[in-house]
């Protein structure tokens, strides 16, 4: 029953933004099956995320993507795109691996001035199959700068290591782990096409749902600085002989 009294002035907003970033390695070593799977899986992940948050109508997901090989640049952006309108353009592999540049580009968007004050913790998913080709000190500085930002610290940051871990042409788990905010998840090891697809979808959906759930206390115990705690990733089956291929 209406009270008949006018509602006090003050513009309301029935949505809260959630900034979502894919940070994707398209260096030469990603050519072939890896790049194919990444392109297809991200396209599949988008409707899965939309469906997962359909019961939270006040969450407004805005998506962007950074690509990096010899240099880092926007693949979709810098203007964020509402998830319902987001289209993933195909990426073709070439060049080396400028992970630090990509992280710096991400950090430049997570400043207090650029991020919406009422927003949910941003979701940042890094996909890479190799080591950063820049100097280690450059990478360390990029990570430090990201974590010095309040939004950088609170972001849900996940990393998917594509292919084999370690060695001359594998991904560097220790480095990727420095990017990861959710230590309980660790680096997601995608050594088969199936696992890569499954992890991209799982990470996209679970990170978004976790970010948009309730408030957390800052500065308690081991999760100091970490706003969002995620569930452990599912145990996607490892490859068996005669089964699907490895990267």
């Amino acid at each position: 029953m209406s009270s008949g009294i006018p509602v006090p002035a003050g513009e309301v907003d029935d949505t809260r933004p959630l900034q979502f970033f894919y940070i994707v390695d398209y260096s030469g070593s990603m050519a072939g099956k890896k790049m194919q799977i990444v392109n297809a899986a991200i396209r599949e992940a988008i409707p899965a995320v939309i469906s997962a948050v359909s019961s939270h109508p006040n969450v407004s997901i805005m998506v962007r993507a950074i690509k990096f090989s010899t240099n880092a640049s926007w693949h979709v952006g810098p203007v964020p795109v509402p998830i319902n309108e987001f289209k993933w353009p195909v990426l073709m592999a070439e060049g080396s691996t400028s992970t630090a540049q990509a992280i710096n580009l991400l950090a430049s968007e997570l400043t207090l001035e650029k991020m919406p004050k009422r927003g949910f913790p941003p979701v940042c998913i890094l996909l890479s199959d190799g080591c950063c080709s820049e100097e280690n000190s450059v990478y360390e500085t990029a990570i430090k700068n990201l974590l010095n930002l309040p939004w950088g610290k609170k972001a849900v940051r996940l990393a998917i290591g594509i292919g084999k871990e370690g060695g001359a042409d594998g991904y560097d788990e220790k480095s990727l782990l420095k990017f990861v905010g959710q230590k309980e998840v660790g680096v997601l090891d995608a050594d088969t096409p199936e696992k890569l697809k499954d992890y991209i979808i799982w990470a996209s959906v679970t990170a978004t749902v976790s970010s948009s759930s309730g408030k957390s206390a800052d500065n308690i115990g081991v999760s100091s600085g970490q706003a969002v705690v995620m569930p452990a990733p599912p145990n996607f089956p490892s490859v068996s002989p005669g089964d699907s291929e490895v990267f």
Partner: protein, 279 residues
């Protein structure tokens, strides 16, 4: 139970002013059959013949690991009211002692309350359960005491307290949190070293005015902070035009709308402080 979250309480002493409050459950909690995690408490009385008003508002954390935050917020408002009462009795309400004593006492009282509660839930019908951790009760708190022409405010965590004087000057008397808290994080009574995170303020309110306290469920319903200010000023005009009874009855409808915007529990307390009578 119909309207179990509809709780309009008005208490007041005609010599000092009046206060009322309302708390509305958020749609996600209602849908998930979870309790309202906000709490508030209002009291009035007099100590040694001098009237006082107390208003406390708390917001239990929403993340699923805070399984007892609705209990934590209830204890926070009850314990803060108790601590104010004790401080009045011990004559510790003064500019010198309030800022150090209130945070220390409320943290200690709340710790004890939730620890006792946690221990009591350990064994039930002979079965052992792990003791509930203090962090599961995590909550914010904003508390206000009006006594002898002064307004004493203490806050930990998010939420807002505005004071609007009778000349329409709007102030947020409590200092901002020292660290920038973004992305749905807040300081809490369960944070490490909460004593360092408490913020206090004291104001002379002898000329009278309005105090608004609300949880971030209401704050986040608005497009930005400037809209919160506009809301508070316009609400004061409506209070003068329609009176507090009618505004109190309108609150459920308004907070239902705001809570749908933020998705969160929303609570507001409104206090009218009369100017000190001229002799």
């Amino acid at each position: 139970m119909e309207n179990q979250n509809l709780k309009i309480e008005k208490v007041g002493d005609s010599r000092l002013g009046w206060i009322f409050g309302y708390s509305h459950i958020g749609p996600s909690h209602k849908q998930g059959e979870k309790p309202n995690q906000d709490a508030y408490n209002l009291c009035s009385g007099s100590f040694a013949g001098t009237p006082y008003l107390i208003a406390c508002v708390a917001d239990g954390h929403g993340d699923k690991k805070y399984t007892n935050s609705h209990i934590g917020s209830s204890y926070a408002v009850q314990d803060a009211s108790y601590v104010f009462g004790q401080m009045l009795l011990l004559e510790e309400v003064s500019a010198n002692s309030f800022k150090s004593e209130f945070p220390r006492k409320i943290i200690k009282k709340w710790d004890r309350s939730v620890s006792t509660h946690g221990e009591k839930t350990t064994s039930f019908a002979g079965a052992e359960k792990p003791t509930e951790s203090k962090s599961s009760y995590g909550t914010t708190l904003i508390s206000a005491l009006v006594y002898k022409q002064n307004l004493y405010l203490g806050q930990i965590g998010d939420g807002l307290a505005f004071y609007l004087d009778d000349n329409d000057n709007l102030e947020k008397p409590i200092p901002e949190a020292s660290e920038t808290l973004v992305g749905g994080t807040t300081d809490s009574l369960c944070s490490e070293n909460p004593i360092n995170l408490f913020r206090t303020a004291i104001r002379d309110i002898s000329k009278g005015g309005h105090l608004f306290i609300f949880t971030d469920g209401l704050q986040n319903a608005f497009k930005d902070d400037s809209q919160n200010d506009i809301w508070a000023k316009d609400l004061t005009k409506l209070l003068k035009e329609y009176g507090e009874e009618k505004i109190a009855k309108a609150l459920p409808e308004w907070l239902d709308k705001y809570s749908k915007c933020s998705g969160d529990d929303t609570t507001v307390v409104i206090m009218k402080i009369d100017p000190e009578p001229k002799m």
